[in-house]
Amino acid sequence: MSGASPVPDVARIDALARQLALTPHELLALTGVLANRPDALLDAERLAQALACLRQAPQAAAAAADLLLLGCGAYVLDDVDRVLPLLWSSPDPDRG
């Protein structure tokens, strides 16, 4: 791998969500729904189905988005005596 994937910024996510008449959290949940079948073609019909599912269960969508928004850092435990020495020595341990 020669570098990290570009991460869309907040403004772009907002714009895409608005275009689909979704909140950014719902958009996040939508990506989860769509990712559920990576082999299927993503076309307008499938997008509409996924959007319909999402709108029928707004609480579940919000809960799913909340879980995702915690970020992977919430679920992966990293030992204190591994991380702290990195912090003492490097301005940015993720890049250092």
Partner: protein, 872 residues
Amino acid sequence: MRGAALIVLAWNQWPTTRRCLESLLATRPFAAQVIVVDNGSSDATPQELAAFADRVRIVTLPENLGFVRGMNAGIAAADADADVVLLNNDLVFEQADWLERLRDAAYAAPEIGIVGCRQRGPQEKHLLYHAGGFTEPDDIWGQQTESGSMERDVAQYTSARRVQHVAFALAYLRRDCLQRIGTLDEAFHSYFEDTDYCLRAAAFGIATVNAGAVTLKHEQHGSTQDDGGFRQRLWAASRATFMARWQDKLRAGYRGEVLWQGTTRAPAAHAHLARLLVRRLDARGLRMSFAAVAAEVADAQDYRLALAARRRTAPPVDAALVCAAGEHFLAARGRHRLGLTWSDWTQAPADWVAGANALDLLLVPDAFQREAFLRAGVRTLIEILPLGVDADYCHPQVPAPRDPHGRCVFLCVIEDAERDAPERVLGAFSAAFARDAEVFLLMLVQPGPGAQALAERLERQCAGDARIRVRGNWNWPWHQRAQLLRSADVYLSARRGGGYDPCVADALACGLQLIASDFGSSGELARRHGVALAAQPCIDARIGLEWAEPEFEALVAALRATHRRTRTVDEVTAAARTFAHSHSIEASADRLVQRIGELAALAPAAPAPTPHRPIDLQRSASGQVLVLGMHRSGTSCVAGLLARMGVHVGPQRDLLIGPDNPKGHYESGRLHGACLRRLGDAGGDWRDPPVAAPAAAVDAFRGAVGALIDEFDAQRPWLFKEPRLCLLARELLPLLTRPLFVHVARDPHKVAASLSARDRMHPAQALALWERYTREAFAASAGWPRVLVDYDALCAQPLAIARELFEQLRAQGIDGLSWPGDADVLAWVDAPARTSNTPLAAMTSAQLALQAAIAERSILAQHAAQALRGAA
């Protein structure tokens, strides 16, 4: 001298056994005989073991009888009075004083019978395999630590504590426990016999303790690895046996069903309490279940919390406790409903009020929170539940990865950008210190929605400042939280919000300095134990409620002040220990269980069995007599009287004679010297007895007195008399065989008058010293055979009191006594020079109660803790 039999059970795997024996013998265990039980080994063990025959006793069994019968064979081979220590052959002894520390724990109280230790794995960064465990009736699957996880060894559970069971890979069994309970139950082949034994002992009031001062390396299953499923079959068979015997009994121990409704992840403080309290409530007889109040992928770092989440209970449960923001109170699903929460503002949010009023009881951590809910109009019962710290995890000895540059490290944990004011902290830090100052600010953003973005924003704010690190997207193992704190010098909680921040108390228990806002739940702790930041009321624009902004200049000043402050290690340790003692999560759990029980009218807890006492075994005294009494209390007179009855006092040339007691002290000079050294090694003397008991001082004392016991044992009955033994007798219990304690008491005013005259001691100090010696003496002998001699009565009625003492000794089974004759008694017990009992100083109420308990002899019925705290 009585000692211990160290029983190593071996079955094949000779290299493992050799490593165990070599490391064990290298520790030169004092007063111990090593017994190796060869459980029918077919490898090189029998031949190789022969080379150890001069150092260990070998018991050879014809075939592998399993762990239980093999250990029982070792116990049968041990000296009939010896304590025994069961040892797996896959242990490695890296701690020289392991046996002595086990002895300390075993004899800390009369009811203790079984002692285990911390066991850690062989990894480079050791995993803690065992620290005292428990078994839940749901799955009958022995858990080896309170969290049920194999945590990294971060010095957790390093104090002695009572547990449900210990793993018999190492178990110190006191002889009186063995005599009460018997040997291991041979219904088990291997596995579960240890839990069974501890539970059987508990039914007889015998306590099991894990000695945190001992850590051994355990290369588990050294004797059963690569066995083609043999071990698994043994385990399953023993589990079935155990289940049939104990599962229903364990279930019957529950008093009721309680549903904890909360979170295991965020907010962090609520999740922290779920981890701290669910396990403790369950261990205290409440069958806990758990339901999340919001969507979450449950955190699985605590076994009992995860088990609670798996449990299915028929609603409604006896009680539901919602530990979450007040908006969740209406979701409480129990016959009785409790809430446990706090708010960040001077007044709780209005949309919490209806839910709070639907509760039967609202618990809050402090008076600030109580006011906030009252101010909001909550009318339900509100009580304060102080939330303590887990001192088993949070203490100053937790090893920490410290800053290699030695800078003063400030730690700040952020969860909510508005509440926690991180930008203000960064600004104040930059303003407080020059660029080249030896300081470092570590700011951690807790995982959560927006955490990464917040961390990046803060990083930008302090870009280029090498003294500051901001880290987001990091979730550290909960059991390592004290490591994180101990890596810093100062915990900084300069929040606007006044809610409960568990890191504040944890930091104080770890010995950190504290800077916190003088507002909300942290305010009082900051005022009493740290630096309280002046804060000005302001409005949280998001909700329109008032909280407080720490003053910028105050924060700058606090940062500088804590940076300048220096404390010795002893000061840090003492302050942290005192804080943890008075802010214990165990007390919080006790109170919570009590209130739930009262509110839900739960069945009372089954009465605990009467604590075991060695005296209840009605064994004859062996003829080892310890005369205990404060200086100037007549102990020399009583010792001389006993000598005339035929009790050996040691060689004449060794006995002390001094100007203050020309008739003789009847006190061995070598014993006297050992006592002097013991107190001196701990930094004290008889006038100023030390509180601490340094391990080296205890071990040297045991070694010296142990040699004397060996010598004196050639001529039983014998006595040791030395007033300092009041403070030290407990340390000798592992070496004594069925001892008898003779307490000598005298009017404390006469003791004080005598000390004032002889030593120019202030009477109040003399009375305090009398109290200390007397309490410790009766605490040491609690549960053991003992008699009490009133020296004033002896002087008034020598023949009657001496005869009573003589008969008491004979009734205890001491052989070899003879009545010296009335004339001899009268000639010996001549009244001392008249000492005034006119009070030279007023006695405290506790001293008066102690005096009364002695006069009424009710002190003889007290247990050790009562004697120490003087509950008369």
